[in-house]
């Protein structure tokens, strides 16, 4: 599939995207909040450009206050942009017609505690303009899918955080949306529940549903998303596939039987693993690796193995954010 690269002239960040008509199209989006009596300005979004294609799974990462939730809220029409444009299915974000094809799970969502799980989905199904027939058919099925079938007549007030998240996910999927936007979907969910939610999201992806996830759990994004955005202080500072982002800082991992005496990691741009049995060469240059091997062999060190070191998405994320913090 051809790749479109759009570049934000303000920051020079390129944002690759598949060419098919984007379901989400954001251009030069700014959002500034004024807070307090002195109307102190907080720049939540500063010139965000983004296109998301049909069927894509996009993960949004960033530290607290990066503007991730604001970005999603602008898309949903919950927050009004200060300038720029945000379009869903070609219609301006905030247009109720566009939201008909969308499912949303907000962060820290609250359902009325006096409703049962079934009643909750019934009310939100009505609000999504679902017919009686569609609600009758989908509600029990979805409750089963998220593992709440036996809790359908229990009041939501008695649910644990994890159960609330599952119910929230069922609510987001109730209208069989073409785009699902999830803000911290596995927050408070136990590991088994997280796996179930991930499986559910993968299955959604396979059906061609566009999935946008905002999460602090980088491993989750890594496992579900095709593409990742990293936001910092209201800007997209990096965008690419998980592999592209994880490759940042890749190098070599050399496993040894023992470490040579007086080994100087800084000489090789290397670090030692905690086990003391492996050296990680950060710069990834073959010359450095070869020089290291020569040195190790001279010192009679047995090389047990050499492999390409792939930094995790988390490591890439932390490096990027740290470098941004240092730069500013």
């Amino acid at each position: 599939m051809p790749i479109l690269v759009s570049v934000n002239p303000a920051n020079g960040i390129s944002v690759p995207s598949r060419v098919s008509s984007p379901v989400i199209d954001i251009a030069d989006l700014y959002k500034t909040y004024a807070s307090g009596l002195r109307r102190r300005k907080v720049h939540a979004l500063r010139g965000v450009d983004l296109q998301v294609s049909r069927g894509e799974a996009l993960g949004i990462l960033g530290p607290n206050g990066a503007g991730k939730t604001t970005l999603l809220k602008v898309l949903l029409g919950i927050v009004h942009p200060t300038s720029g444009s945000a379009r869903l299915f070609g219609q301006p974000a905030g247009d109720p017609k566009a939201r008909r094809r969308l499912g949303y799970l907000p962060e820290n969502h609250r359902f009325p505690t006096y409703l049962t799980a079934r009643q909750t989905l019934d009310v939100y199904g009505r609000l999504s303009d679902l017919s009686d027939e569609a609600r009758r058919e989908r509600i029990p099925r979805l409750l089963g899918d998220v593992g709440l079938a036996s809790w359908e007549d229990t009041r939501v007030g008695k649910f644990s955080k994890g159960m609330m998240q599952r119910l929230g996910l069922a609510q987001a999927l109730l209208s069989q949306p073409e785009v699902v936007i999830l803000d911290e979907p596995t927050d408070g969910v136990d590991p088994v529940g997280r796996r179930d939610i991930r499986d559910r999201l993968r299955a959604l992806k396979q059906t061609g549903t566009t999935v946008v996830i905002n999460s602090h759990l980088l491993s989750e994004i890594e496992l579900v998303c095709d593409r990742v955005l990293i936001m910092h202080k209201g800007r997209i500072i990096r965008s690419g596939t998980v592999d592209e982002l994880a490759r940042q800082g890749s190098g070599w991992r050399v496993e040894v039987d023992r470490l040579v005496p007086l080994f100087e990691p800084e000489r090789w741009s290397a670090s030692l693993e905690e086990t003391g049995r492996a050296i990680v060469v950060e710069d990834g240059l073959p010359e450095t690796l070869n020089a290291l091997i020569d040195h190790l062999r001279e010192e009679q060190v047995q090389i047990m193995g050499i492999e390409r070191h792939r930094a995790s998405l988390e490591a890439g994320f932390i490096d990027l954010i740290t470098s941004q913090e240092d730069a500013s």
Partner: protein, 288 residues
Amino acid sequence: MTTLSGSLLLTFRELWAMRLTQAMLVIASLAWLLLSFALNMDVVEGSLAAVRIFGFDTTPTDGVFNEDTGEWMSQALSLDKFMIGINTFVFGAAYFLGTLLGLFATMPLINGFLEYGRIDLLLSKPLSRPRLLAGHLVGVWLTVLVLSSYLVGGVWLSLSFKTGVWMPMFLMAIPIITVMFAVMYAVILSFSIITRSSGLGLVITYGLIFFSIVLASHNQIVPVLSNTNAAIFMAFYHVLPNFIEVVGVQAQLVEGTVVTSWYPFISSLLFGFVTYGIGFFWFSRRDF
């Protein structure tokens, strides 16, 4: 239409889940059960010869001196006056207590509606903001209409069957209570939307109700004020809701006399329209 039904259903369920709504239904039931079974009246030639509550005679025993005949006579109550008295009492209780308690009861409703995590979920649904707010409002208004109809209608039926005196104008209490509640609800709702504090909204609403007691005495107060102060006072009188004076409108309706002025009711209604307009505007514009 389905989206609106969802919004209505959510409001109804929330109101029903509140104990105060259920308590109001119980109180209304007790009120007309009391009038049906505990209140006994002996009506002789259109006059009330005896009134008993729970079997205890409460007929006035004091004699009345008839100046024409120069004799002391036993006091007989006019049935119509008795009915007007009872109806006015029920209206007053429903109007004041019902509105004050009702506004208090809706505070958590508004809190819940505007709460983060709830409002963003509602706003993500395919209905416009004015429609969402309208669904909430209609739900509240209908609930108040049902509660006031249940109380006033029940009392009216009970008394009318018992006495044979039918005073249909008493039923005007239903729209008056509902509309005036809606007017005062406009204040609490709009202030809650603007400030995101339903507590502040409630304080301001109660403040306006109590200030309307002062405004109702405008005929006595204005003459003692300077021209400037009198103009300011009358500006408040015309702009703010005249919650107290509306009681006079209902009293005249029940008595069957001509209503001397609908102005307090109409100006309150206009105040409600403007306040709802501000609330809707702000709700449509603000970020959540």
